[in-house]
Symmetry: C3
Subunit: 269 residues, 3 copies
């Protein structure tokens, strides 16, 4: 496989320690010309679903790259480390579902290997820091042109762990959806693709009643936050083109008690 | 205009999401050799004044660059996107005053365009993410050498939105000033330039009484924090050479109830 | 001395202001090809010991580099600024102990200079921002090949300020140790090297009783967090190969009241 010039990095390592910098250093010792872009390192500790969604949101904007993601509560246990080829890119990380949303969005896994080639790892490998000792050194070598099948044993792509796909159903007068994720501003992305919004009656000017566990509010469907007053809730197609709920200048998740995984009925009136 | 090798980026996007990384990716797909320096992405959400001041604090230390700033509560509404030439640099962002403090500090706007050339935007443009879809792709092309006047229609520089300039007045025994901004440590920068301090009697060794809404305290005017005990308040010329208020090892804004925009009388005794 | 291609940067400047970006800009104006890796800028304000430990944790993973660290409550007072050569790398910062743990880990100081050559500083030097005005411009010139002895007057390496070395003692049935530092997750690194753990009886399968000021708990000694239930405390060899205390999915320092400097007796049962 050809070289990749770009590597992305997403973790739950936080920004208070040297963990992220150490991983950069390990990668650049192997591939000095590699450009590393940090996606985020503030995924809540161990929140695989949140990490998976943020990775999937970012990947489409990058050229073909090696995407390293590490949210890995099972580090050091029997879970596999994998490298997955999908849509011309490579995804490297634990096989716990973290990569699965981005891989699916990239067209699905074409090939995958379990990272069993210890010759590519750091000489000493800590049981709690595979990001530094396995994922990053293997990813840097893949970026530098190492063929995927030299990273380890092939695995059936059907055996890769995948997160359950958030569901939605367009109904006669709206849609039944799930909250997929909440961003740093408290905006709640729903499982309804923007392209499906018109079929559900969600068009600019519509009113939408949200009903769910502890939630009952009617909000306008708008194009921009500027169309409502500060502090007012709204429904819109977000920048990734998913239907989403926000509060202008406020935190919708907190104000409306929206949580990832929660089911909501949208009724257009 | 010649190429710029450096692009800076300042927003209120936060660090928990992929927003910043996606903007980097968009820029680097257009200008792969471009060096991007993040100034900060922790401007409080929608706080145009704070963003404007931090941008102005940073710009003088950069070589000629394209400075992209996005604190944009009106995204998607009628407010213009602009590119402004000032002091040999280019400033790209919403025309809401965010760029105005840095532009003024750079010698004022020489030329400006409204970013109306849609051929430079991303193919699909979200109403809520002009950073990704308009500002960054246009800025990357300007950095790569696109002439400013190809980015859109010329606008009168006098028509650009500017923030009110913080005022100060040197009095017989001190100065009347405003709090301009509060940094991450709680240090409060005032509207009095350091070069004016001696004329106001603010010289090392002086005592200064601060009087304002709920504030009444006398503090020493010093050169370094080390001259006072931990927890003690002080007045000094800060690293940008503005007169400022701090508490050694503490948060002056919180401890002394200092807020941006607040008026304070300084009396030297 | 040959050129360095890599400069690392660690401070307590935070991420809300332009301080870090301004230092990057200053360095790159002097050495445009220099690659700068930020280690962290979230060292608690003025916490020299925490900064020293994080720097020492990071350095071993980098190629020979110029390491700039600024946690400097005495900025502008009589404390020296220094550049220290150790283990083929250069360390630049205040002479307050911040560099000492990394320098010792790199084999000890071979040479050192006080940064007295004002020709290398920025033209105007703020008393409160030596990172921008002294440390970064000098470090960038050293990275670009300036001989160390041109940065200032030589100083005796024995005169450099060093932090007290955390102590440990292997006892008949365990070890007496100190808490060295607490990372962003609340994991507490102890002063006992991993290589000494077996001699203290700390081997997988052992039970360890921790006793200290307000602490009394028995935890398993394990290899990975996955071996205990969520919320359970554990003792292990961490990724830097120090013995450490953690809580699976939780904050050990908070839950067990562990603080840096605290003495703990480990008894294996």
């Amino acid at each position: 496989m050809a070289q990749f010039h770009c590597l992305t990095f997403l973790t739950d390592y936080g920004l208070e320690d040297a963990f992220v910098a150490v991983c950069h250093a390990v990668a650049r010792q192997i591939a000095p010309e590699l450009h590393i872009t940090d996606i985020t390192h503030l995924v809540p500790l161990g929140d695989i679903r949140r990490g998976a969604v943020v990775l999937a949101q970012a990947v489409p904007y990058f050229p073909p790259a090696v995407h390293v993601a590490v949210v890995d509560p099972g580090v050091g246990t029997a879970r596999r480390g994998v490298a997955v080829e999908a849509g011309g890119a490579l995804f490297v990380g634990p096989d716990n579902g973290l990569l699965s949303v981005a891989v699916a969005a990239a067209g699905g896994a074409a090939r995958a290997v379990s990272l069993t080639n210890r010759a590519l790892w750091r000489d000493t490998t800590a049981a709690t820091f595979h990001g530094r000792d396995i994922f990053m050194p293997v990813a840097a070598r893949l970026a530098a042109g190492l063929p995927l099948d030299e990273a380890g044993d092939p695995v059936e792509v059907a055996s890769l762990v995948t997160l359950p796909r958030p569901e939605y159903r367009v109904t006669g007068d709206g849609a039944d959806v799930e909250v997929v994720t909440v961003d740093g501003f408290g905006n709640a992305q729903l499982s309804l693709p923007g392209a499906e919004a018109p079929r559900a009656g969600l068009i600019p000017g519509a009113s939408v009643t949200l009903a769910g566990d502890g939630v009952a509010i009617t909000v306008p469907f708008v194009t921009t936050f500027g169309e409502v007053a500060a502090g007012e809730a709204l429904c819109y197609r977000d920048s990734g083109d998913w239907v989403a709920i926000a509060v202008a200048g406020g935190d919708a998740a907190r104000l409306l008690s929206l949580r990832p995984g929660m089911r909501i009925s949208l009724t257009v009136t």
